[in-house]
Symmetry: C2
Subunit: 317 residues, 2 copies
Amino acid sequence: MFSMSEKIAGIDIGGTKINFACVEGEEPGCDVISLKTPGTSRGILDAFYDGVGQLIAKHGIKAIGIATAGTVDLENSRVTGSTGNLPAGYSGLELKKTLEEKFNIPVLVENDANAAAYAEFKAGSAKGHLNTITITLGTGIGGGIIANGKLIRGRSGAGAEIGHIPMTPEKKRKCTCGAWDCWEAYASGTGYALNARELARKIPVNNRKGVLKDKNIDELTTYDVISGLNNNDKFAVEVHNLWEEYLSMGIASLMNVFEPDSVVLSGGMAKFINYDALNAKIRERVVIADTQLVPAKFENFAGLLGAVYLASEKFFR
Amino acid sequence: MFSMSEKIAGIDIGGTKINFACVEGEEPGCDVISLKTPGTSRGILDAFYDGVGQLIAKHGIKAIGIATAGTVDLENSRVTGSTGNLPAGYSGLELKKTLEEKFNIPVLVENDANAAAYAEFKAGSAKGHLNTITITLGTGIGGGIIANGKLIRGRSGAGAEIGHIPMTPEKKRKCTCGAWDCWEAYASGTGYALNARELARKIPVNNRKGVLKDKNIDELTTYDVISGLNNNDKFAVEVHNLWEEYLSMGIASLMNVFEPDSVVLSGGMAKFINYDALNAKIRERVVIADTQLVPAKFENFAGLLGAVYLASEKFFR
C-alpha cells in the first residue's frame, strides 16, 4: 500500500478557487482551506504564502505539492503557459523558487490533470496499474497519462493534451483552442450541448417534442437533454448516444496507443456515462483487449493529492 | 554519438522475408543475408539457426537482436500474437530461450515498428529526440513511440497500435482488424485506394476524365492516382489532399498526446507526401508547437538496427 512518511501541504489552484490541505497517509489529514482565486498574480502568491503559512504553523509540513491549471515545465518548478482563466502574470511566476525561499521546504509543481491521474494511479481507481489514463470530462476535456509508472509530459511539459484528438476530417467545428474538430469540441459538456443544438436544428419546428418543445434551440443546454433521459425522451437518447460515440472514439484512440490497464473517468460529465453502453461502443473501435473503464475515486481532491504524492516520491524516497 | 562496443547480429523477420546482418557501430557491418520467410514455424527457427550460425562463425557475434512482426512480450523474449501473415505456430515460439540455449549469447526480441522507431531515435532522423514517433505508412500503418527516451509498450507489449486511431464517428469503413474507421483504413496505401474509389463513384461515368477515363473504378489503384499527380489531374489532387487530411488527423492526435520533438515518416507511402501541405494541415489540428516532421533515415534496415541497438543497451551497458 502506498503511504507517505512525511506530512505534505497540497495546493490545488484553478480559475475559480484555491484549495489547501495537509496530507498524511493517502488522504487529506486536516481541514481543507478553500478560497476564491485572487484576480492578480501577486494576490495568488500572497494567498499561497498565507495558506501554506497556516498549514506549516499548525501541522509541521515538510514539503509542498502544487497542482495547477496550465502547462508546467519539465523541472516541475513553474507554470509556462495555457493558464486559461487565471490572471495574466501567473504564468511565469517562479513558484518553486519563491516558495522554497520563503518556507525553506521543497516544492513541486505539476499540471492538475497530470496530478489527478497520478493520484488515481497511486491510491485511487487505478491503484497498481502501471499503465493508466485519467480523463476529466467537464466544460473541456483534460487528461493525465501514466505509461510504465511514469507521467507522459512531452518535450516541454505540454504533453497529454488528449482533449484535442481530432474527430472528423470534415472541419465541422472549431475548438476553443483554434484547431478543428477536437475531441473536447464534441465530447465535453460544452460539446454535448453543441451536438444537441446541431441535431435539434435538423428537426422541423412542428416536430419538436419532449425536451425540445417550445425551446429556443440556441439556448438548449446539456442539462435540458440529460433531464430528458429519465423520461426516455427520443431526442435526448439520440444526443446521449452520439456523445458516447464521440467519447468512445477518443478513449479508443488512447487505448490503442497505450494499451493501458485502465481508463479512469472523472469530472462533472462522467456521472452521466452509461458504462455498459460506452464499453460496447469502445469495443467496436479497439484492437486492445481488457482495459478496464472505471469511475474516478478522487474527484475534487485528485489534483491536490496527486501533487502531494509526487512531492513525497521526489523528496522523501 | 551513439556507438556500440560489441558486434551484434540483427534479424528482421516479416511475412515475405528474413534479413540477417551483423552490426558494428551504427550500420550493418557485413553482407546482409536475405531469404524468403519459410512457411512453417519450424522452418523459421531453422533459418534463424542457420543465419545466426553463419554470422557467429564469420564475425564473432556477441548478442542477437530480433525485430519481428507481431506483438512481443514485455520481457522481449517471444512473440505473443498479431503476427498477420507469418505461419501458425510462430507466435508462441520461445525465441529468446531457444536461441540463447543454442548459441550461448543473449537475445532480445522486439516488435519491428518499435525497433524501427528506436533506430531513428538512436542514430536516425530523430537522433537526440527524447520524445519521437516513427510512423510507417505501407499497406497498413504501424508505429513506434519513444516517450522520455523509452519505448511505449503498454501493459503487455501490444501498445503503440497507432494505425487504429478512429477517424470519424460515422462507422463508414471497417478496418482489417475488425474495428470501425481506423486510421489505416483511410491513410495507408490500402486506404488511399479505397478513398479514391469512394470519390470516383460519386463522379458520373460521363464526367470521368484523366486518371478515371475508361477505368473500372473497382480496380483503381493508389499507383493510378499517384501517377496522375504529375499531370495535376484534378481527381488525383483531390484524392491526395484527402489522404493528407487523414494523415494530419492521426499525426495531430499523436502530437497532442506526446508533444514530441519529431514525427518520423517511413514506409512506401511516405515518399508521396508533400511535407509543406501536410505540415499546414497538421497546424490546423494541433495545440502543440514546433514538432518536426521528417522523413526516416533508415528504411528497410530500421527494424534490424533498432533491435540491435536495444540489445546493445540491454546487454552491454
